[in-house]
């Protein structure tokens, strides 16, 4: 095998998974991993735990990892441009590649609000952000969080642990509106409120008020003025697509790829938060996964394809799990049925809630609150496209267990195997 040149841009879930996948089938290739941030790989999932002081060490690979993977690293070296078969770095150097992976991740969305650049307004996307938040904590009493998504709830947990008064400003009518259905979101909200978190729904920040060059309060669109020593942005993410743009790749909200994570240019791949990949459940649609899970799976699939050993791919399956101040919540796939061909099966008790979404002959989504032990088998059956008629015996009132799926054993669906043009 000739010695191929692989260049990976990024140093988080997707890039590391790709690195490992390439090495599984190609020991000889030259691999160079390039990243903006100067430190070895760390887990962004752990950032809220760093803020709360629960975790100091965020590294997710042992020391000597890159050497053991026989990968060169150029850390703290932003890639600025793709030109023909080279990537230009910020110091003007050029890296030639046979295969390139763009795993540039995402940044926090910044709402257009007057005073949003005032010191004391933070995102939580990097270790540098987390350090800035920690530095601003001494003497802080009030925190306002803009947004009600997943990051928001992890930040709430961290700040609440630190004893701050936390207020959430949410544009929609509930928390986690893109991850949960109304009923489960209300359950989460009730728990947060009981724990002392103030939640203002259908409310946005109108203006950030400053005093002595630091944030002092948030004026809301509903006419409130909420005191704030720090403000955290949690209005979702934006894909980092600038680098892909310089190479003339097809980009919409994210870098467009096909089922093999290949961009509009066959030798360039994209994986993770910056990527808009075919959706598993919505044919013809592309979705930004935006989760750690999806970044790992996409990185593995991209790495395998780059090394010439493509795996069957299944498309983006939205799923996530988290624990707020109280119960765990998990959601997999869709949270509302797409049309009248579907039905929902709901079981709710005081502490737990379970909703299964059945569309035609298959399960297309689930929301679980409390006990999430069914989540793995459900995710697996959705990904493998198992229909209910293939079940040995489908009883919607019973938890779904692996043996239900094992009959018959089915490999991943083949339909996404064909490599289609990305446009």
């Amino acid at each position: 095998m000739s010695e191929k040149q692989f260049v990976l841009i990024g140093n988080s879930a997707a890039s590391l998974a790709a690195l490992e996948a390439i090495r599984r089938s190609d020991q000889a290739a030259s691999i160079t991993l390039v990243a903006d941030e100067p430190m070895p790989a760390y887990s962004r999932v752990l950032l809220p735990y760093f803020v709360s002081g629960e975790r100091a060490d965020l590294t997710i690979r042992p020391t000597g990892y890159y050497q053991r993977m026989n990968a060169k690293t150029l850390l703290g070296r932003p890639a600025v441009r793709i030109e023909k078969n080279t990537v230009l770095l910020d110091d003007g150097s050029a890296l030639a590649f046979d295969r390139l992976l763009i795993a540039t991740g995402s940044r926090a969305a910044v709402p257009a609000v007057e005073g949003i650049d005032t010191p004391g307004v933070f995102a939580l996307k990097s270790i540098a952000d987390a350090e800035r938040i920690r530095d601003s904590l001494s003497g802080a009493r009030n925190a306002v969080i803009l947004g009600g998504g997943l990051i928001c709830l992890l930040v709430v947990r961290a700040l609440h642990r630190l004893g701050l008064n936390v207020t959430l400003l949410i544009s929609s009518n509930r928390v986690l509106s893109r991850m949960l259905d109304a009923e489960s979101a209300l359950r989460v909200q009730r728990q947060l409120t009981e724990a002392g978190v103030r939640i203002e729904t259908r409310t946005d920040a109108a203006r950030i008020l400053a005093k002595d060059g630091r944030v002092r309060a948030v004026a809301t669109t509903t006419g409130l003025e909420l005191p704030a020593d720090l403000i955290i942005l949690a209005k979702g993410i934006r894909a980092n697509t600038d680098l892909a743009g310089t190479g003339g790749l097809a980009v919409s909200r994210g870098v467009e790829v096909n089922g093999q994570l290949q961009t509009s240019r066959p030798d360039v791949y994209s994986a993770g938060d910056c990527t808009e990949a075919p959706d598993l459940l919505l044919p013809g649609k592309r979705t930004i996964g935006g989760t750690w899970f999806e970044a790992v799976w996409q990185g593995e699939a991209a790495g395998a394809a780059m090394a010439g050993a493509p795996q069957p791919s299944y498309g983006v399956l939205k799923m996530n799990v988290m624990e707020t101040l109280g119960a765990a919540v998990a959601s997999i796939g869709l949270t509302e049925i797409p049309d009248q061909d579907g039905r929902t099966i709901v079981r709710a008790h005081n502490e737990s809630y379970r909703k299964l979404l059945v569309w035609r002959d298959r399960i297309v989504g689930a929301v679980l609150v409390g006990d999430v032990s069914e989540a793995g088998p459900i995710a697996s059956l959705i990904r493998r496209g198992i229909t209910l008629s293939e079940f040995a015996r489908f009883d919607p009132s019973q938890p779904i267990r692996y043996p239900d799926l094992a009959l018959p054993w089915r490999p991943l669906p083949k339909r996404n195997l064909e490599v289609q043009p990305a446009v």
């Binding site: 887990s43 999932v45 750690w292 899970f293 799990v321 069914e374 989540a375 043996p403 094992a406």
Partner: protein, 155 residues
């Protein structure tokens, strides 16, 4: 090649001794609800299927763990309790549903084969559980298991 707990559902008599043995070793009390091996009963089919961690060779749980708490080993997926943040991502990643969450400690729990000498196997009188060499890689492990389940359904 490494040893693993191999399940033969055809032989399982639904006695739940494995659950008692497991919970005693891992929690110090007979608490089958906390056992890391669970016998799934399918009463309508007269089938009972014990299920525990397969110690996958390329374990999805270890691949997604964002806290470095699940480490891929040879014949064992090692759980580092101190590193676990209780995010439950592994529970979503595991198709077998064999990772449990332990509320009091706030971390997950999964089979560690009792360090290579699993107690459940010793207490399985009908020998539905065996601890032996198995050269099967991850997918075939699941496939092999599925075949056993299928055989059990036919039997």
């Amino acid at each position: 090649m490494s040893r693993m707990i191999v399940v033969d559902p055809v032989k399982c008599t639904n006695c739940h001794m494995c659950e008692l043995a497991c919970s005693l070793v891992t929690t110090g009390a007979f608490t089958p609800g906390k056992s890391r091996i669970r016998v799934h009963a399918f009463p309508a089919d007269f089938k009972h299927i014990p299920l525990t961690c397969f110690q996958c060779a390329s374990a999805p749980c270890a691949r997604v763990c964002p806290a470095g708490a699940l480490l891929q080993g040879e014949g064992l997926v090692r759980f580092v309790k101190e590193a676990c943040i209780g995010c439950r991502m592994c529970m979503l990643a595991c198709p077998f549903g064999v990772i449990a969450f332990d509320e009091p400690t706030g971390v997950i729990s999964k089979c560690d084969t009792c360090g290579g000498d699993p107690e459940c196997v010793k207490f399985c009188a009908p020998k539905a559980l065996e601890f032996r060499e198995s050269g099967l890689a991850e997918a075939p492990k699941g496939r092999d298991f599925a075949r056993r389940v299928a055989d059990a359904a036919k039997a």
